[in-house]
Amino acid sequence: MANVNLNPNDGNNPFARTPQEIKRKRIELGAQFTFLMMTMALVIPMLWIMWDLAYRASDVLSYTYMVIGVGCVGLLIPYFLIEAAKRNEHKRKLFMGLAIAILAGISIWIVCITVFNMDNGGFDFLTLNPKKRMTAGGVWAPLIGTFLLVLLSLVISAPIGILAGVYLSEFANDNWFTRIINLAVVNLAGVPSIVHGLFGVGAFVYFMDMGRSLLAASSTVAVMTLPVIITSTKEALTSVPQSFRAACWNMGATKWQTIRTLVLPNSINGILTGVILQVARAAGETAPILFTGALYYKKIADTGFDSFVPYGLEDRFMALSYHLFTVATQVQDVPESFQFGTAVVLIGMVLMVNSISIGFRIYLRARKRW
């Protein structure tokens, strides 16, 4: 056994690497490095852009950053405590974790004070309406407009989309018509959003005579998200194996009973993930609302109930995405921090919703039921 000698030059060690092997290893490392660099060429500019946006918005958002930072640390403390308790570790370690968490919180706070200018009043940027041709105040009016837009479009598209997905994958017969519809649905998901905007103008604003309004814009956004919701619902439903359905049918359950008791409970999370993703998309899209209802500026109530529901269904409204376009390109003399602040609020909203959906999915994968 021991005299199996792969490398005659090195009689002592049969496992010594041959020059070819070393060369090969180098090539491998080189390749890995090259591909890593290509990935980094995407990731690093991204992170840098994010940082730049956040930094240049800090004049108006520093307080928000701090609250969110401290809030995250605040959430981490109980998490650490629970984890430590779970593992039943020594108490000293527990307090160490606690101390580290508190220290981290304080240091974030100090960084906020020193790096960002802390004197800029609290949550004002989020809670005040735009004033003086957008050069003062905040983004409340567009923020609430986007919120209402998303809510309304979701109210339209989520039930129709989900139930249509159920219909198409559970009830519809497989014939040429449904095949065309399925093809159309898949392809509509890739149609440019500006075309959906055109559809909204033709169908809702003029044909259905809604005028340019919150209702027309919401309907347009709903129609834009509809194909994607249908597709993701269908995907979630087909992930439930057919044999489960057959087993239920064999026991005399009707189609609807099978769907209600077995298919939906096991796919609802996947369906919701798809819907949440569309919430983020609806909040960020500009092109479909450009001509169907979004407004450059609208004065709304500063306080009270009216400031929470400032736009009726027939009214035109301000939306955050359009507001960003406006303050960046259409209005003069807007302070830089206002422009960047608007961008950060929009990204923050969208990424938050997206993270929820991603977290949801990771949780789902961990908890697979078959």
Binding site: A246, A247, C248, W249, G252, A253, L262, N266, R369
Partner: protein, 284 residues
């Protein structure tokens, strides 16, 4: 062929048979009321592929009826034609009439179809544990039929699990997911589910594929007991299993019913040479 095997079929014509049903030549002989399932000139096509050539066959009440035959002979298709789950395969087309208790199943409309399916327990070869708790797996069908009394359900679940030889293994973890059981356990869970809606007919399609031989023997004993209460249709690729259990046996080959009759006759002196080849194991 089977038309000659009518010596045992005596009695009155089922009185509630729909008048419109076309009466096939030999089966116009009197049919006994202890005929539980009868196939009159039944054939099944998937699109243009013939899965079952026209055939006549009768299954008596409270017997174990064995069906043997090589793969793709149409045995599974035959079972599906009994409880009308072929409805779910759009390309499948059944002609002729399958009668259960003298009633043509294709004439059943609306919700009665689900009652028909509840009347028949089905076990297919691949184990399917539903992603519900073991308890809910078995209680599923009774609940769908409107039974929600916990005590009645408890009793029923225990009885069915015992009959499927699964009770001892799962009695302490009834709230575990059915999908997390082992393959053999899931298959027995499937059997328990098939019994849970208290069917009159139990169809078993190669049920023992996923189950170990010892448990299979125990389940076979249970089947012999259940015979007092149920009609059992046993599709099996184990020829000896049919020989052990079945009172009558049918042999299918290449979508054709070759012959059927008392098991002893099929296994010792069948009318067709091919049947003898198959049961002796020198087939093909």
């Amino acid at each position: 062929m089977n038309q000659n095997e009518t010596t045992q079929l005596t009695g009155d014509l089922a009185t509630d048979a729909p008048a419109a049903v076309k009466v096939h030549h030999e089966s116009s002989l009197p049919i006994s009321s202890d005929i539980h399932i009868s196939f009159d000139n039944v054939s099944v096509k998937y699109g243009s592929d013939v899965a079952l050539q026209p055939f006549d066959m009768q299954i008596k009440r409270n017997e174990i009826f064995g069906i043997i035959g090589p793969a793709n002979a149409g045995k599974t298709t035959l079972l599906k034609s009994i409880n009308r789950t072929l409805d779910f395969i759009p390309s499948a087309k059944v002609s002729g009439s399958v009668k259960v208790n003298g009633q043509d199943v294709s004439a059943i409309r609306g919700r009665r179809v689900h009652q028909l399916r509840r009347h028949i327990g089905m076990v297919f070869p691949l184990p399917v544990g539903l992603p519900l708790s073991v308890y809910e797996n078995v209680a599923y069908a009774p609940r769908r039929a409107g039974m929600h009394d916990r005590r009645v359900l408890d009793e029923l679940v225990e009885k069915c699990l015992r009959q499927a030889m699964l009770w001892d293994e799962v009695k302490d973890r009834l709230d575990m997911l059915g999908t997390k059981l082992s393959g053999g356990q899931q298959q027995r869970l499937t059997i328990a589910r098939a019994l849970s809606h208290q069917p009159e007919i139990l169809c078993l399609d190669e049920f023992s594929i996923a189950i170990d031989p010892v448990t299979t023997m125990k389940i076979e004993d249970v089947l012999l007991e259940l015979k007092q209460e149920l009609t059992i249709v046993l599709v099996t690729n184990l020829v000896q299993q049919a020989r052990r259990l079945a009172d009558n046996t049918a042999f299918f080959n290449k979508s054709e019913l070759i012959e059927f009759g008392p098991t002893e006759k099929i296994f010792s002196e069948p009318e067709q040479q091919i049947t003898l080849d198959y049961v002796m194991g020198d087939f093909g």
